[in-house]
């Protein structure tokens, strides 16, 4: 099978400048219609009343439909093809999960409904919590955090609450230098100071450095395992013990949980707090950038600090047999979300977890690791592994450094892959690897797809040598070619009122901004 046969249908299409809702707008046109008002009109007091109407676009339903249908065709999703974005677990999103989440008995619950009217929903959350605890080896979990980063901050605030309760609030959080950007950002928001732990020659936590850095001001360590280089931290027991011995807690960033599903559990490794990205491990769709869900599970001693409320099974002694929200949690850190998290996403995660079951989940992990190792074996000649001695787990980090001598960068490889019909891997992440290409095939891809992608990668490496401009010019087949990111950040057009939506009726000059660090090139794409 040729690489092209896996190819992506996002291609240059008709109009170079697509319409916007603004440019489609015509005064007096409309899509919505309400029933006639069947009660007396009521006045808004003049001081609160809006003067004049809102300047929203006026379009017909038919316009909306073709506009968004066309926009969708200018987008590449997992359903379109291979999407090996490292650190993101872009696996197939089961259609059945969409179907069950759309059941009126799931989709049309008001968040203020009394517990007695949502017994099915509470039982679902309760079962999901139990399963997540079993999968991670933890005691209890909150399903409130709406994403991984939110989970991180939740976990860090739990750490803070714990240490504060111990009368020893501490100041620092250790994080590997290869950590995802959300880790240090969350640390700052939790009021701690991040301290970088370097990797050693194996690409693993430098134990010596860890020992050195771990002191009584260390509130905890955040770690991904397998780590963000796709490598398993083999000294994990040692690592967690080191931190524990110093009175710290250890946080598991669950972005890479897919690799160890049913094989190893953060709890058994000594982690105290775990977040899970349902949109990675449990295949809830990424939605173009969200929503996700980031449940946080903890060991028993941290349970009191979990955000309130949690679902509990009502006391049999009270005669209760159902489920209810337990709001009475005096040590809880509070709310981390205005509601109870992304319920609709949790329904999808439930479908994934219980659909796969213990047998299916284990196979997920196995196949994910098999795929990554197989693909790594095929591409590592042209794109050496950043840590060639390590065995990758569910993803691997290669480097495009050898192509640099042809003037070719990792981003050029990525763009050329687009022309060959693939979504590229993550590039420039982790930051610690030069010209990083972080590839995560996931378990839902077939050997043929991996073979085709590897062939495309090899082809691009050959082209880099023979015709580097082919890569510099790429992509040429897409609706737009390489975009001027520096200009976007300089000449700000963030709305059509700022002169954006060139086809719009309000076109004008953009807002010129102060100089910015933005520029095309070395920005991580995960």
């Amino acid at each position: 099978m040729s690489a092209g046969a896996v190819g992506a249908p996002v291609r240059r299409t008709g109009p170079p400048v697509p319409s916007t809702l603004r440019s489609l707008s015509r005064p007096g046109r409309r899509a919505s219609m309400l029933p006639p008002l069947d009660v007396p009109e009521a006045e808004i007091t003049p001081d609160h009343r809006r003067s004049g109407s809102v300047d929203l676009p006026e379009v017909a339903e038919r316009d909306l439909v073709s506009h968004f249908t066309r926009l969708s065709q200018r987008n590449y999703g997992v359903d379109t093809g291979f999407y090996p974005l490292g650190s993101c677990s872009m696996k197939y999103n089961p259609k059945v999960a969409e179907q069950v989440a759309a059941l009126p008995g799931m989709q049309r619950l008001h968040p203020w409904q009394p517990d007695s009217t949502i017994q099915g929903a509470l039982e679902l959350l309760w079962r999901l919590e139990r399963a997540l605890c079993e999968i991670t080896g933890m005691h209890r979990a909150t399903l409130q955090p709406p994403a991984g980063a939110s989970g991180e901050l939740t976990g860090l605030l739990i750490m803070r609450a714990y240490h504060t309760k111990q009368g020893d609030p501490r100041t620092k959080i250790l994080i590997p230098d290869a950590a995802h950007g959300t880790n240090p950002a969350s640390v700052t928001l939790s009021g701690y100071t991040p301290v970088k732990v370097p990797a050693d020659g194996r690409g693993l936590v430098d134990l010596e450095a860890l020992h050195r850095l771990t002191d009584d001001q260390v509130a905890g360590l955040m770690l991904t395992n397998p780590n963000t280089l796709g490598l398993f931290e083999v000294d994990i027991a040692d690592i967690t013990k080191t931190v524990h011995d110093a009175g710290g807690l250890v946080y598991y960033d669950g972005a890479n949980l897919n690799a160890v599903l049913g094989k190893a559990r953060p709890g058994d490794m000594g982690f105290d707090i775990v977040h899970i990205n349902t949109h990675k491990t449990f295949a809830t769709p990424h939605g173009g950038g969200g929503p996700g869900a980031g449940p946080v599970a903890v060991v028993e001693r941290l349970e009191p600090f979990l955000p309130a409320p949690l679902v509990k099974q009502a006391d049999e002694s009270d005669g209760g047999r159902g489920f209810e929200w337990d709001r009475d949690r005096p040590d809880a850190i509070g709310r981390v979300h205005g509601w109870n998290g992304n319920f609709g996403i949790l329904v999808r995660a439930y479908a994934y977890v219980f659909g796969h079951g213990r047998d299916g989940l284990k196979e997920v992990g196995e196949r994910a690791v098999l795929n990554a190792n197989y693909l790594a074996a095929l591409v590592r000649d042209a794109y050496p592994l950043a840590y060639p001695d390590g065995r990758p787990m569910h993803e691997f980090v290669s480097t495009a450094k050898p192509l640099r001598r042809h003037g070719v960068r990792a981003m050029d490889v990525a763009k050329r892959l687009i022309d060959l019909g693939f979504h590229p891997s993550t590039v420039y992440f982790p930051l610690v690897v030069e010209e990083a290409m972080m590839v995560e095939p996931t378990e839902t891809e077939s050997k043929e797809t991996l073979d085709a992608f590897a062939e495309a990668m090899s082809q691009v490496a050959r082209e880099a040598e023979q015709d580097p401009d082919l890569l510099h010019e790429a992509p040429v087949t897409t609706p737009v070619r390489r975009l001027d990111e520096a200009r976007a950040a300089r000449d700000l057009r963030l709305t059509w009122s700022m002169g954006g939506g060139a086809a719009g009726s309000k076109a004008g000059a953009g807002v010129v901004a102060e100089p910015s660090a933005d520029a095309a090139g070395e920005q991580p794409t995960a």
């Binding site: 079993e134 173009g288 981390v336």
Partner: protein, 450 residues
């Protein structure tokens, strides 16, 4: 269920390339002592048809808003979701994609976000927005962080009539960033006192936060409060209802520097509280303090218009511990839905929807207040689509009685600090409710009160 496509032959061939004889070898590196030596204690996998049966069974044990006639509010509203919204937002190229890091193959999402930002700015009369935050409450957290950075001040004054969920969320996150929100007192009329003095808005105040319409649905003296705050050099933050803006003056005109909202009413299903979206909009002065993704327009090497994520230097993946926020995954798909919804609604629809919701709420309030044992909690304060009633009977009991009769009202809400001024039942009325339904609700209410 299993979606990994591997046949036994595939596995064999792939292992052969790796020089391995079993999949287990791939996991050899995991030390024995941290390996799970048993199966997970969760049930065996299910076929799709069993799974669907399981979820249907769970769903059947929920009553929902196609079944209970919904007069509930408190931040989530039963507005009509037109069919077109999810027929389009549900296009799989959109919902199965991730953050548009590769703009050339992500123009669909990027342009939709650009349009979303534009519409939010049109709505709020503010300058910039972003690609969404998690929900209304966390959007307020981000707004407060922006204000604190912008002013380099610390204190945060929040009206008592801001939703307690927002209060709770601010308290949680404030413990991390080093502030605790302080109350701006509400007066007996169910609104923030328009002449705030205690605690004074001093020059250490970073932000003054009000919700308008407020937690009781009441309209606030926003202009006065924002003027006072500005006079003290603070940033002004408004929690708003996007579907009020067809009839109410927009945050930008009221003097808000930053406006945040729960975006659920814009075409998103109630879904027991999520996924919703956090809306944020601000003035150009704060553009570099904005949290999260922002789409911007630019041109490609051929001069063709296109969209990218821009001002990324604010974000965690570049700026790391110095980022304006830790947000990464957001609620993009809900923002796409909101875009389609606002496109569907249009300016006339927005206005009409506001007018109808208001008129229906006013009608319901009038009818309810004529019942014996039922009073409007704030009879002299204007409201938009939601209002608070005091009942002689325990409000929870009234709520339960209504459910038995097939109506959902609520939440039950405390008035005053620590509920000093008792508890009220909120009633929200959207454009969906008919006069017939309202009349029947009033009747059920009467029975539930006795």
């Amino acid at each position: 269920m299993q979606f990994a496509p591997h046949t036994d032959d595939d596995v064999r061939e792939m292992l052969a390339v790796l020089g391995m004889s079993s999949v287990a070898e791939l996991f050899d590196q995991i030390p024995e002592d941290v390996r799970l030596g048993r199966d997970l204690d969760i049930p065996l996998g299910l076929s799709e048809m069993e799974l669907v049966a399981d979820l249907r069974g769970l769903a059947a044990r929920n009553r929902h808003t196609d079944d209970l006639v919904c007069f509930a509010g408190g931040g989530a509203y039963d507005h009509y979701v037109p069919a077109v919204v999810w027929a389009l937002a549900g296009r799989s190229e959109l919902y199965t994609s991730y953050t548009p890091y590769q703009p050339e193959v992500s123009q669909g999402i990027l342009q939709a976000l650009f349009e979303y930002q534009s519409l939010i700015c049109d709505l709020t009369s503010l300058d910039v927005s972003n690609a969404s935050l998690y929900d209304g409450a966390t959007a307020l957290v981000e707004a407060v962080n922006m204000a604190r950075h912008a002013t380099r001040r610390s204190r945060v004054l929040v009206s008592e009539t801001v939703d307690p969920r927002y209060w709770a969320t601010l308290r949680t996150y404030g413990r991390g960033t080093g502030y605790q929100p302080e109350p701006l007192l509400a007066d007996v009329a169910g609104g923030t006192s328009s002449n705030p003095s205690r605690p004074e808005i001093g020059d250490d105040v970073a932000a003054v936060v009000i919700q308008h319409p407020n937690v009781f649905g009441n309209l606030e003296p926003a202009r006065e409060l924002f003027d006072a705050a500005h006079a003290a050099g603070a940033r002004t933050i408004q929690v708003f209802d996007p579907l009020s803006l067809g009839v109410l003056a927009p945050p930008g005109d009221l003097g808000a520097d930053i406006a945040v909202a729960e975006g659920q009413p814009l075409g998103n299903h109630l879904a027991y509280g999520g996924p919703y979206l956090g809306i944020i909009a601000a003035r150009m002065q704060d553009v570099r303090r904005m949290p999260g993704r922002i789409a911007g327009e630019t041109v490609d090497v051929d001069g063709t218009t296109g969209y990218v994520l821009t001002l990324q230097a604010r974000e965690q993946h570049i700026r790391r511990e110095k980022a304006t926020s830790n947000i990464c995954t957001n609620q993009t798909l809900m923002a796409v839905a909101a875009t389609i919804y606002l496109g569907w609604l249009g300016p006339k629809g927005l206005e009409e929807l506001g007018r109808q919701s208001h008129a229906k709420a006013a009608y319901a309030a009038e009818r309810l207040s004529s019942l014996s044992g039922v009073d409007l909690a704030f009879p002299d304060t204007p409201f938009f689509k939601e209002f608070a009633v005091r009942t002689e009977r325990e409000p929870d009991a009234v709520q339960r009685g209504l459910i038995d009769a097939g109506y959902l009202a609520g939440p039950v809400c405390e008035v005053g600090p620590q509920g000093r001024d008792g508890r009220v039942l909120l009633v929200a009325v959207t454009e969906r409710r008919t006069r017939e339904e309202i009349d029947a609700f009033v009747k059920a209410f009467e029975e539930a009160c006795s």
